[in-house]
Amino acid sequence: MFPRFTFNITHITGALTPWCRFTVFAVFFPSDLNTMNKEARLKATINQKLTETGERERLKELLRAKLTECGWKDQMKAQCKEVIKEKGLEHVTVEDLVVEITPKGRALVPDSVKKELLQRIRAFLTQHAS
């Protein structure tokens, strides 16, 4: 006889960006969630709280505003132009841009912006820790 496994499918719908809506079907196999790592569960809980309270969207908006203000967006657009000229206007794809731009984007985020956002995130975590 084959061992019987039950499937527990949780349906998570989120928004990566305003342009890209995605739906993820997370399949946990077997269904007993106790085997799942505690840290992963904790992270999932925090992400859920962030989404439910609307704090994630607020943080996104704040980050966008700060990055535009400090000139990060213009720098990134300049980098994108270089990539497009290199690859060719007709042949450039989203994957090319993501691969080339994302590491540079992470590196170019100013420390002041990072500090401010970390402070907000810490405040949220301490508030919901109780």
């Binding site: 890209c20 996104k60 966008r64 132009k81 956002l117 810490r122």
Partner: protein
């Protein structure tokens, strides 16, 4: 065990910091991805390189800030733009009178359309008139060219009409009050057989009868 049941109270500083960093990296990743999608869309739609300009062309289109020149660097005459040429009759008209003239010239307003209709009717009736005569007639009808007519009209308005309804109302009111007063006087007047002499009404147009009383000493 549900996801919500996981308590966050057991978080120490190191775990909290790690979680915060993780969330921050997610947010930065989102921002980068968003920018990539935006740029890719702009490239495919064809408006990504629209704002590209070289320095030479920028110099050509710089705003000029010099006396006697406009923002484009062209010399402009201050008096030139105070007169307009009518597109309909090709006359040079003062800018302040251009809009009223155009209204009458094109025949689009209420009064001007009536004038235009009249002109058409008169034009149909008298075909033997020359164009110059018709132009003269137009000038007569056009108030833009005859300032005297407007002034006269204004004067006429300012003159007060003596037979205005307000005046007549006030007269009526006065006469009614006067008649009431006379009736009251007659009611309170002493008897006729006593030593009183009633004088005639004094004053022009007066409605009041003034009774003059003389006290005569009685000799027994």
């Amino acid at each position: 065990m549900k996801m919500e049941e996981v308590s966050m109270s057991s978080l120490d500083n190191s775990k909290l910091e790690a979680l915060a960093q993780d969330i921050l990296s997610d947010l930065v990743e989102d921002a980068c991805l968003g920018l990539c999608f935006e740029v890719h869309r702009a490239v495919k739609q064809g408006y990504f390189f629209l704002d590209d300009t070289d320095q030479e062309s920028m110099r050509d289109f710089e705003i000029v800030d010099e006396p006697g020149l406009d923002v484009f660097g062209q010399v402009y005459n201050q008096w030139k733009n105070k007169e307009c040429v009518c597109p309909n009759c090709s006359r040079s008209i003062a800018a302040s009178r251009f809009a009223p003239h155009l209204e009458k010239c094109l025949g689009m307003g209420r009064n001007s359309s009536r004038i235009a209709n009249r002109r058409i009717v008169t034009g149909n009736n008298t075909n033997n008139k020359s164009e110059s005569d018709q132009e003269d007639n137009d000038d007569v009808n056009d108030n833009d060219w005859s300032y005297g007519a407007e002034k006269k009209a204004k004067k006429r308005k300012s003159d007060k009409n003596p037979n205005s309804p307000r005046r007549s109302k006030s007269f009526k009111h006065k006469s009614s009050t006067a008649s009431k007063a006379s009736q009251d006087n007659e009611a309170h007047a002493p008897p006729k057989d006593s030593y009183t002499a009633s004088a005639r009404p004094v004053g022009r147009g007066s409605m009041l009868n003034i009774a003059v009383c003389f006290s005569v000493p009685l000799i027994l």
